[in-house]
C-alpha cells in the first residue's frame, strides 16, 4: 500500500536554496528568524497572501524552494518595508522578497500561468533598457497588449480622466545619452 506523504523529508528539500538566500544582500540574518510573526502582523498584504511572511521565512530557511518560488506571496509584497524596519532580528525581508522574485523570474516559475506582475516587471525593465525612462501610460498599454485586451478596455474610463486633466503622456520619454545606458547594461550582462 502506498501512503501519500504530506510531510516532506529533509532530503526532499533544497539546502542550496537556503545557502543562496543568506548570500543575498539583506538576507544575511534570515537563519536567525525567531518566528515571532511581527512581519505577518504588520504586513498590510498578509491577509491576501497564500503564505504569510513569517511562514515564508520558515519555509525559505528550511529549503522549500519550489513552494516558496511558486507562492503568490513574493509578488504581493509591495515593498513597503514595514516588516524590514520592525523585524527584531533585522532581517531585510523586503530584500529577501526581491531576491525570491528574481529567482522565480530566472527559473520561470509563476504562481499562475496568467499572472501579470512578472510581465510588468519585464516590460518595465526592457523599456528602461531601451529608453532610460518610463512613460506610465505607454507601460500600461504594453502590459495590456500582453495580458489581454479586456484589461485595456477596463482602463479606458480612467484613461479618459487622465487625458482630461492633462496627466496622460502620449509619447515615450527618452534620455539623450542612451548609449551610456547601453554600455552599462553591456558591462554587466557580458560577464558570463
Amino acid at each position: 500500500m502506498h501512503i501519500k506523504r504530506e510531510v516532506k523529508y529533509q532530503s526532499d528539500l533544497s539546502p542550496d536554496f537556503t545557502e543562496w538566500i543568506t548570500s543575498v544582500p539583506g538576507g544575511e540574518h534570515i537563519k536567525e528568524c525567531i518566528q515571532c510573526g511581527t512581519c505577518s502582523g504588520i504586513c498590510p498584504m498578509s491577509i491576501y497572501m497564500d503564505v504569510t511572511p513569517r511562514r515564508l521565512m520558515a519555509m525559505t530557511n528550511a529549503g522549500f524552494e519550489k513552494e516558496v518560488l511558486s507562492s503568490f506571496t513574493i509578488w504581493l509584497c509591495a515593498s513597503c518595508y514595514s516588516c524590514a524596519v520592525n523585524c527584531p532580528k533585522e532581517i531585510k525581508i523586503t530584500d529577501v522578497m526581491y531576491a525570491l522574485k528574481r529567482r522565480a523570474i530566472e527559473e520561470n516559475i509563476q504562481p499562475h500561468p496568467k499572472f501579470t506582475i512578472p510581465i510588468l516587471a519585464r516590460a518595465f525593465f526592457d523599456t528602461v533598457k531601451k529608453y532610460g525612462r518610463i512613460s506610465e501610460s505607454m507601460l500600461v498599454v504594453k502590459l495590456a497588449l500582453k495580458s489581454g485586451i479586456t484589461m485595456l478596455l477596463g482602463m479606458a474610463p480612467l484613461g479618459l480622466k487622465l487625458m482630461r486633466t492633462g496627466r496622460m503622456a502620449y509619447t515615450q520619454d527618452k534620455i539623450k545619452n542612451r548609449k551610456q545606458i547601453k554600455k552599462m547594461f553591456n558591462a554587466l550582462e557580458a560577464k558570463a
Binding site: P25, Y81, A187
Partner: protein
C-alpha cells in the same frame, strides 16, 4: 537662496504633473532654486530590482553621479525615487560586491561615483533647511477649513532616512498645523497603498485604498494629502472603481502636500495644478477663499 539639483522622476512628468507645478510654486515662495538633472534616467522603482539587482543599482548610481557633478544636494520628490537612491547609496557602501558591479558599469560609461551627494526629499528640506519659522512667516491664507489626513505612504520614511519616525511620522502634520489647518490623528499614515499592485492585482489594490480612505473619513478628515505620486494616483484615480465595489464608500479629494502649502502661502490654485484633480477639491478650497474682512465666524468649519 538655497539651490538644489532636482531629480523629478518619471511619474512627475506624467500622471503627477500637479505635484511638480505646486512644488515649483512653493519653492519659489520659499526662495529655493531647483536645477533639473540634465539627462536623468528612471530610478527603477520596485521593478528592475525584481529582474536584475546589479543593473538596478548601476542605473540608479548614474543619477547619483550626475548629481555629484553639480555639487548640490539632490531633491527627489517621488518616494520611490527617494528610497531607491538612498538604498543605492547605502548598499554601495555596505556590500563590496554591489560596489564592484556598480563601478564596473559606471567605468564602462566613463563615470565615477564618489558617494558624496546627499539625497533629500522636499518634505525634509522644508522642515530642516527652510524651517518651520520661515514657513509660518510665509503664510498668507489660513487653512482652518481643512481637516487633513496626512498620508506619508511607506517608502519615504523607511528604512534609509533619519528625519522622521518610520511608522508614525509627524513632519507633514507640523507644517499643516503651522499653516492653520487641522490634521487628524490616524494609524494609517504609513500603511502601504499597494504601489503598483493596484494595476496588477486590482482587487487587492482597491481594497487597500478603500481601507485607507474609509479610515481617513472615519477620523473626520475632509481630504487626504500625500507626498508620493504613486500614493496620490492610487488613492485618487481608482475611487470610481472603489465606489462601484463598496456601497458605503464616498469620494474624497487627494492632494499633494505642496498644493496645500501653496494654498497656505496664498498662491492661486491655478498655479498649484489643482484643476488636474480627478476628484475635485473645489468644495474644500472654496471654504478658504472667503473675502478678507468678512466675519471669520462665517467660514464654515467642519466639526
Amino acid at each position: 537662496m538655497n539651490k538644489y539639483a532636482y531629480y523629478p522622476g518619471c511619474s512627475i512628468k506624467g500622471s503627477a504633473k500637479q505635484y511638480e507645478e505646486s512644488l515649483f510654486s512653493v519653492c519659489n515662495t520659499l526662495g529655493i532654486e531647483l536645477e533639473e538633472l540634465p539627462d536623468w534616467n528612471c530610478c527603477g522603482a520596485t521593478m528592475y530590482v525584481s529582474v536584475d539587482e546589479k543593473i538596478s543599482f548601476a542605473l540608479s548610481s548614474r543619477n547619483l553621479v550626475m548629481a555629484e557633478e553639480t555639487g548640490m544636494d539632490l531633491m527627489a520628490p517621488c518616494s520611490a525615487c527617494y528610497v531607491v537612491l538612498k538604498k543605492t547609496q547605502d548598499y554601495i557602501q555596505k556590500y563590496p560586491e554591489i560596489r564592484a558591479s556598480v563601478d564596473k558599469a559606471l567605468t564602462a560609461a566613463d563615470l565615477v561615483y564618489r558617494g558624496t551627494v546627499r539625497v533629500r526629499h522636499p518634505l525634509e528640506i522644508f522642515i530642516n533647511d527652510v524651517g518651520i519659522e520661515k514657513i509660518k512667516s510665509s503664510a498668507k491664507q489660513k487653512l482652518d477649513a481643512l481637516k487633513i489626513a496626512c498620508y506619508y505612504g511607506c517608502q519615504i520614511v523607511r528604512p534609509f532616512q533619519e528625519f522622521d519616525h518610520p511608522c508614525y511620522p509627524e513632519s507633514m502634520d507640523n507644517i499643516f498645523r503651522t499653516l492653520g489647518a487641522q490634521t487628524v490623528d490616524w494609524a494609517f499614515k504609513t500603511r502601504c497603498c499597494g504601489g503598483s499592485l493596484t494595476g496588477t492585482i486590482e482587487e487587492v489594490g482597491l481594497r487597500l485604498n478603500y481601507i485607507l480612505i474609509k479610515e481617513a473619513q472615519r477620523k473626520g478628515a475632509n481630504c487626504i494629502v500625500t507626498i508620493c505620486p504613486l500614493c496620490q494616483f492610487n488613492l485618487e484615480a481608482y475611487q470610481h472603481k472603489i465606489l462601484k465595489k463598496y456601497r458605503d464608500f464616498s469620494e474624497m479629494p487627494v492632494l499633494y502636500f505642496t498644493q496645500i502649502m501653496g494654498l497656505g502661502f496664498g498662491i492661486a490654485p491655478e498655479k498649484l495644478g489643482v484643476k488636474r484633480s480627478i476628484i475635485s477639491p473645489n468644495k474644500i478650497i472654496e471654504k478658504l477663499t472667503v473675502p478678507k474682512g468678512q466675519d471669520e465666524t462665517q467660514i464654515p468649519v467642519s466639526s
